[in-house]
């Protein structure tokens, strides 16, 4: 009899717990869902901003405009042939030549290959005269 009582109370407690936690869970889900909606709206807004800003960026980086700005503010010019060369054209300093294993070794095939330009604009800052 008493065993039965105990079990009944136990089950009642379990049912109560289950009911409460289900309710609690549903409430939490609704909250998280609201939060998700809010974040999604924020993402949308940010994406819109990004779309507008990157369009603006593309507009501001029109080559013709950059060219004008370059002429007005910078002393840079497009890369010329004189600025490009291969590694074997680089002279070693006389002091280094004696003991340096690098200088005495025959030039590797990679070193003799002409220097390739990565992007054009990067080397534009090197003035023809600066290389001597």
């Amino acid at each position: 009899m008493s065993v039965l009582r105990l079990a009944t109370w136990g089950w009642l407690a379990a049912v109560g717990f289950a009911g409460f936690s289900t309710f609690e869970m549903k409430y939490q889900v609704a909250q998280v869902d609201d939060e998700l909606g809010r974040v999604n709206r924020l993402i949308d807004a940010d994406r819109d901003q990004l779309r507008v800003l990157s369009a603006e960026w593309s507009y501001l980086t029109q080559p013709a405009r950059l060219d004008q700005l370059r002429k007005r503010h910078l002393a840079l010019a497009p890369v010329t042939r004189a600025q490009l060369g291969s590694l074997e054209q680089v002279p070693f300093r006389s002091g280094e030549t004696a003991g340096s294993p690098l200088a005495s070794a025959p030039p590797s095939p990679a070193a003799s290959a002409p220097v390739r330009l990565p992007g054009g604009a990067d080397l534009a800052s090197v003035k023809p005269g600066a290389a001597r």
Partner: protein, 583 residues
């Protein structure tokens, strides 16, 4: 079953109660078995239910007490497509060329507006740039729907919303922006923003794809090269006071168009006051008699069909009289010319004779194979139909040999020239970017040997012939000049020229074919009274090559190095027994 005999032994038994007609449990027999099975089934079902409930219970405990559970990310939030949705257009390096932005438009349903005058007064307080009379007129017009203002800022939208005027609504509308403006309009085109419909260029050619695609459309164009090409053509138009110009830079090995210019051009974001001339795509829709650049095909045909060899020669002493035509040379040498000489001095007489040797059928077949006799199939629809004689007489064979009597578009020219120099494989022209390592198959149209011979000849034109101004120090440019007299009514107008140059770079291992055409250039003092392709278009190609080489990563070379000399050597005039190389 045994009858229950002693039912009435219990005196307290209610009168209406009858015990179940079963007695003590059977201890054996089929009844017992039946009972056992039933019990087993009961127990099994019970266990199953218990397990199921336990599972639910555990999950509940897990979620509430232990706060467990893995939080997997759901699908990324994607906005649904709308009427105004249109994919971005990018260049080959991801530079934005066209994009649809969304904004709120202020609209009104006048029938729902109670007091038009008051509504107009209120609206003007928050949107000062609206005209109060105007708004009032619109609101009392009795129409079903009016649009009051486009592109509201969020602040303005908030302010209008706060006014709380009935019948005033917002509507999301898309508008297309073209950040590079006129620079890329010849390829990108433009749309009618009211109904999101492409009207020209890629916007028209790929209209359906752009409306449905989630990902941006990547073009083969390179905005940097596009700028260089446009600027250099513009410079030549200005220098020679020309009517317009066109230019194309194509990848010789894939057919991708990396730059295409048609000048004058238009800005797709501001279509007001744009004239027909600016909308006309000279590089793809315009077909022209190209003049001497066609000798590339005549010579290639003669070499490929073994009609002659580089050692062959033709008599170019006297002009050819045929019917009412006289074919003469602009740079007349009045003697026998070797095949390389015919090419580099651009001899009409020699080319005509070469074509006659090959015959009309072979000429037509060869030009057809190079795609010069049919409309090219590309992603844009502004494509010109080539014009050529239906009856291919002897005189047509002769004039077509030097590029008269047949009209093709610059787009067809670069496609065909690419095939001639790249080893002999024709690739369909495309405005869409191929994957980095993708090499389209193409169709072989002439032999590898012919292609190599042609590269040597094209280099010779720049080194010693009519295309000297196309030379770019440090870079190996080859090419062919062309100066065509434009058709004027029935005859040719001697003063109205189309001056072109088709360049190939680097000529020893072609990567790019560059074509520049200047329409109706006027000779000036600096060009010593000349307005030919060699004077007008070739210098532009030289500057384009020098500017683009560092961008596309082609290193400068020593043009006089023995390897390069050997690779591009042509036995110049063997049959004539004299060394012209000395001059």
């Amino acid at each position: 079953m045994k009858p229950a005999l002693n039912l009435d032994e219990n005196p307290c038994r209610p009168r209406h109660f009858k015990p179940a007609p079963c007695g003590a449990l059977p201890v054996e027999g089929p009844e017992k078995e039946l009972l056992e099975t039933s019990r087993m089934r009961l127990v099994l079902t019970g266990v199953l239910f218990a397990l199921a409930f336990a599972l639910v219970g555990f999950r509940l405990v897990d979620l509430t007490v232990l706060k467990g559970g893995d939080t997997k990310l759901g699908h990324a939030h994607v906005r649904p497509h709308t009427e105004a949705t249109r994919a971005d257009i990018l260049d080959r390096n991801g530079v934005l060329l066209a994009r649809t932005l969304e904004s709120e438009a202020l609209v009104a349903y006048p029938k729902l507006v109670d007091d038009a005058a008051a509504a107009a007064r209120k609206l003007v307080t928050v949107l000062p740039d609206l005209n109060q009379q105007d708004v009032r007129a619109k609101l009392s017009s009795g129409r079903k729907y009016v649009r009051l203002k486009r592109q509201l800022t969020p602040e303005q939208q908030f302010a209008v919303n706060n006014l709380g005027i009935p019948g005033i609504k917002f509507e999301t509308a898309g508008f297309r922006v073209y950040p590079k403006g006129a620079l890329t309009s010849a390829v990108v085109g433009y749309i009618d923003s009211a109904d999101n419909k492409g009207l020209a260029g890629i916007e028209r050619g790929l209209d359906d794809e752009l409306k449905t695609a989630d990902d941006p459309v990547e073009l083969s164009l390179d905005t940097r090269l596009q700028y260089i090409l446009t600027e250099e053509i513009q410079a030549q138009i200005a220098a020679f006071n020309a009517q317009g110009g066109a230019g194309i830079i194509a990848d010789a090995n894939t057919g991708e168009i990396v730059a295409l210019a048609s000048l004058p051009s238009f800005d797709p974001s501001d279509m007001s006051g744009v004239n027909e001339q600016a909308l006309f795509n000279r590089a793809t829709l315009g077909t022209y008699e190209m003049g001497s650049v066609f000798k590339i095909f005549t010579t290639a045909m003669a070499l490929d069909e073994h009609v002659t060899t580089l050692a062959g020669s033709y008599d170019a002493t006297n002009p050819i009289h045929i019917g009412r035509f006289t074919i003469h040379d602009d740079h007349a040498k009045r003697r026998w010319l070797s095949v390389p000489e015919i090419f580099i001095y651009s001899s009409n007489i020699g080319s005509a004779k070469m074509a006659v040797d090959a015959g009309a059928d072979r000429q037509r077949d060869f030009l057809g194979r190079l795609g010069l006799l049919a409309e090219p199939k590309v992603e844009i629809q502004e494509i010109g139909r080539p014009e050529w004689p239906s009856a291919w007489h002897l005189v047509n064979t002769m004039t077509i040999a030097f590029g008269h009597g047949i009209s093709v578009s610059p787009l067809q020219m670069v496609t065909a020239v690419s095939a001639v120099v790249n080893g002999g494989v024709l690739h369909r022209a495309t405005f869409l970017k191929y994957a980095e390592d993708y090499r389209p198959a193409g169709v072989r149209v002439l032999s590898r040997q012919t292609s190599e011979d042609m590269r040597r000849l094209l280099r010779l034109v720049v080194e010693r012939g009519t295309g000297k101004f196309a030379a770019a120090p440090g870079y190996l440019v080859g090419g062919k000049t062309g100066t065509a007299e434009k058709v004027d009514g029935r005859g040719y107008a001697r003063k109205e020229l189309l001056s072109s140059f088709v360049g190939v770079f680097p000529i020893n291992e072609p990567r790019y074919v560059i074509m520049v055409s200047i329409d109706q250039p006027h000779a000036n003092a600096k060009s010593m009274g000349e307005a030919t392709g060699g004077w007008v278009a070739a210098p532009a190609v030289s500057r384009i090559v020098q500017r683009m080489a560092p961008i596309v990563g082609i290193p400068p070379v020593d043009e006089d190095s023995p390897e390069i000399r050997r690779a591009l050597l042509v036995d110049f005039a063997p049959s004539l027994g004299r060394k012209i190389a000395a001059d």
